[in-house]
């Protein structure tokens, strides 16, 4: 009996093209669009040399030395710091105004930096100039000091040395762009609510003719509900796995090493989405259109707070209104994917999953309480 109902329900849901579009195709299209838009910085930005124009207003030996140091920094093998052009004053100003260079360095009696705006690139040029002057100042001080210590100057090593070493804090490489895709997965899970809503519409006699027909069928309500829920869970999970495969294989979005747990998160997310849709379907007495509007509105608000439109949103909420990130299912899902990627299966991941399961149980329980033992007045 159960399997019979389950199989027919599965067929029935698979034929609902509109819901299939919103739950399966739409997230895939959106993911592709986001990928194209963010493609530029998915790979992590390589540092481009900073374009600088240098002008030698006074020719002197001292300035020649300075320019040769500057040139060296622009010709370093591998990754040069600057893209240096030595030009005349007017040409330099033209290049700056047309934003072909970020800064002009005027080498005259003193070294002067000319820029159009304050920015990190300009600050790096400034830092480089400062360093040169500081080293010059230092050498002068050293000359005075070592005059009393003969021989000391010769033993000094003037080659600049690097004193920092990159260490990983453990876990994966931070890449903020990933968060968009994690939030998108959360959205796809929440869209599972369309199935939940459809299930509830098809089971209540006062909402659809199909509901009326099924209400008089000689099958216990819990069995009907359960078979409906199981069928929609199967479809929703398949759709999410297709989206996941698309993200991982086609778009190369990194979900970390533990694919098994990523899939578990998808299943939990599907359950949560369906139970959310059921709750709206059972609790609200509005028309189907209004209910769909409510689903989309709530899903969009939740995913917005989880960072789908503005990626830092999830972090801002977590820092300033932490309560909200524990009750927002989209944020919990996005954080589950994030923590799996970043930290692996730790306490943070499991807490997200447990809270999600709790929310699912609560939603399902409330909707069951509403639809069980419903009686309709005979007309």
């Amino acid at each position: 009996m159960f399997w019979n109902m389950f199989a027919s329900r599965l067929k029935c849901l698979f034929r609902d093209k509109t819901v299939i579009f919103w739950t399966a195709l739409f997230p895939i299209v959106l993911a592709a669009m986001m990928y194209f838009a963010f493609g530029g910085f998915m790979e992590g930005g390589e540092m481009e040399p900073i374009p600088v124009a240098a002008v030698e207003t006074v020719v002197s030996e001292r300035n020649e030395v300075f320019l040769s140091v500057f040139r060296e920094a622009s010709q370093e093998a591998g990754d040069p710091l600057f893209d240096l052009r030595i030009v005349e004053q007017e040409e330099a100003l033209r290049l700056l105004q047309e934003r072909e260079v970020d800064a002009i360095v005027e080498v005259g009696q003193t070294v002067t930096l000319k820029v159009l705006e304050n920015g990190l690139e300009q600050s790096i040029v400034k830092s480089f100039l400062d360093q040169y002057l500081q080293t010059q100042h230092m050498l002068e001080t050293l000359m005075q000091k070592t005059a009393s210590l003969p021989g000391a100057f010769g033993e000094m090593n003037f080659v600049s040395q690097s004193f920092t070493k990159e260490v990983s804090l453990g876990g994966a490489t931070p890449n903020l762009t990933l968060s968009y895709f994690y939030a998108l997965m959360a959205m796809a899970c929440l869209y599972g609510s369309f199935w939940g809503l459809r299930n509830m519409m098809d089971i209540q006699a006062n909402l659809t003719p199909l509901g009326a027909r099924r209400s008089i069928a000689p099958a216990p309500k819990w069995k009907v509900i359960l078979s409906d829920a199981a069928a929609s869970l199967v479809i929703q999970t398949i759709e999410l796995l297709a989206l996941l495969a698309f993200l991982i294989l086609a778009l190369q979005v990194d979900f970390g090493q533990q694919i098994g747990l990523v899939i578990l998160t998808c299943v939990v997310g599907s359950m949560m989405g369906i139970s959310f849709g059921s709750l709206i379907g059972a609790a609200s007495r509005q028309s189907e259109g209004v209910k769909i509007g409510m689903l989309i509105g709530i899903s969009m608000t939740c995913t917005f707070l989880a960072g789908l439109m503005f990626v830092n949103m999830k972090d801002i909420i977590a820092r300033y209104v932490p309560v909200l990130s524990y009750v927002n299912p989209a944020a919990l899902l996005a954080d589950a994917f994030y923590s799996l990627y970043m930290f692996g299966a730790g306490s943070r991941y499991w807490m997200n999953i447990v809270v999600l399961l709790g929310i699912t149980a609560l939603f399902s329980f409330i909707s069951y309480c509403i639809v069980r033992r419903q009686r309709y007045v005979s007309l």
């Binding site: 093209k17 509109t18 299209v29 040395q161 903020l176």
Partner: protein
């Protein structure tokens, strides 16, 4: 005017859904204003721009590490985060800090004793910030090392010298720009870019709703028998669509004026932006018309509306600035009208004085948009004629 009145009635029934798109753009605009409003204004003196860095100093009481820390915070912003791995990773991931420097225990002592010791850093891969901070740290420590090699033993004396050295700095000045920056920090340009999303959604939903209703097979046949000329029927439909498009145009611009009236008060700027938006609105009407001709059911309609508007907005630089999109995607986007609309907006935003050359570039974009509109209308008319003919059989 029965056809016109009916089309208005149909639109009224869709009003709540249509209003969503007006609310969305106003909300997004307000949020962006709140998020970007706190950013500093353009200054006319040079300020060394630092980055947000976090220093975890485990070398408590070390003179050298204190000096280094003090030096780094002269130009960089301090972001205090607990010495907790997960919190540090979170901060780096969400780019609240760009550089985490860990000074190990006993660093000062070991360094001053001449041992080879290193500081640990964690940064975003290949970031310009990491290069910048590295440069500062190396400068400081290399200076200290040189003084040590010169035979100066007294730590305090060395730090004093270094501090004096590091005070020397190059002159820097800011030149007044002839072309104001056209970046996306200009909220009014952002607003107008975003308008394309709302307008497109409104036009597709509104126009196709009217056309779907009027072109239901039976209803269409029945209307053909009505004692009203086909040309009048179509004329009233066009009038209805035009009134709807005009209303949306003025409502959206009105919201923009209310939100950004300080910036948009400039007549030249406003008129160019409005002109560009008007041309793009015509393109939107064309897209809406084409959708209405193709689509027969309301379910398909909302799917088409969402896919078209979101794809266009993502690919053409409405949601993500064109400046950070990859060149190959932008090449493709040139085949979409919104690309030219956004491009024209940026050109207008960076316009300082109307020169013929700049105006030509802007008008070029507008011309391309008009061509798109013409192509869309031509396609829609051809298809609709064929379809209507089939329906009459």
């Amino acid at each position: 005017m029965s056809v016109f009145n009916t089309s208005m009635k149909i639109l009224r029934s869709k009003l709540p859904i249509l209003l969503i798109y007006v609310v969305v753009i106003v909300m997004v605009s307000i949020l962006m204003m709140a998020a970007m409003g706190s950013q500093e204004n353009v200054s006319d003196t040079f300020e060394q721009k630092g980055c947000a860095i976090t220093v975890i100093n485990r070398d408590l009481g070390g003179k050298l590490s204190e000096g280094l820390e003090e030096f780094l915070f002269r130009t960089n912003q301090k972001v205090s985060i607990d010495d907790d791995k997960e919190k540090l990773q979170d901060a780096l991931y969400y780019e609240n800090t760009a550089y985490i420097l860990l000074i190990p225990e006993g660093f000062s002592e070991a360094f001053l004793a001449g041992e080879e010791v290193f500081l640990s850093k964690t940064t975003l891969p290949d970031s310009i910030e990491s290069y910048y901070v590295d440069m500062q740290i190396d400068q400081y420590l290399n200076a200290v090392r040189l003084y040590m090699q010169a035979g100066i033993k007294n730590t305090e004396e060395i730090l004093e010298f270094v501090s004096a050295d590091l005070d020397s700095s190059a002159n820097a000045e800011i030149i007044v720009s002839e072309n104001p920056n056209s970046d996306d920090s200009q909220l009014h340009i952002f607003y107008f870019n975003y308008l394309s999303y709302s307008m497109l959604a409104l036009m597709i939903l509104g126009i196709s709703t009217i056309l779907i209703s009027f072109h239901q097979k039976d209803l269409y046949r029945r209307n053909l028998c009505a004692p009203i000329k086909l040309i009048r029927m179509n004329g009233e439909l066009i009038l209805g669509i035009s009134v709807f498009a005009g209303a949306c145009y003025f409502i959206l611009i009105g919201c923009g004026l209310a939100l950004h009236w300080e910036k948009l008060w400039d007549f030249k700027l406003l008129s160019l932006l409005c002109l560009n938006f008007l041309v793009f609105s015509i393109v939107c009407v064309g897209i809406g018309f084409l959708t209405g001709v193709f689509v027969r059911s309301y379910n398909v309609q909302s799917a088409v509306a969402n896919v078209v508007t979101l794809s266009m907005s993502f690919l053409c630089g409405v949601f993500v600035p064109q400046s950070i999109m990859s060149a190959s995607v932008l090449k493709f986007s040139q085949f979409l009208p919104a690309y030219w609309y956004v491009k024209a907006n940026h050109l207008i935003g960076s316009l300082s004085d109307i020169s013929l050359e700049q105006l030509k570039a802007i008008l070029g974009c507008l011309g391309i948009e008009l061509l798109f509109a013409a192509a869309l209308f031509a396609a829609a008319l051809a298809i609709s004629k064929k379809k209507r003919f089939m329906d009459c059989l």
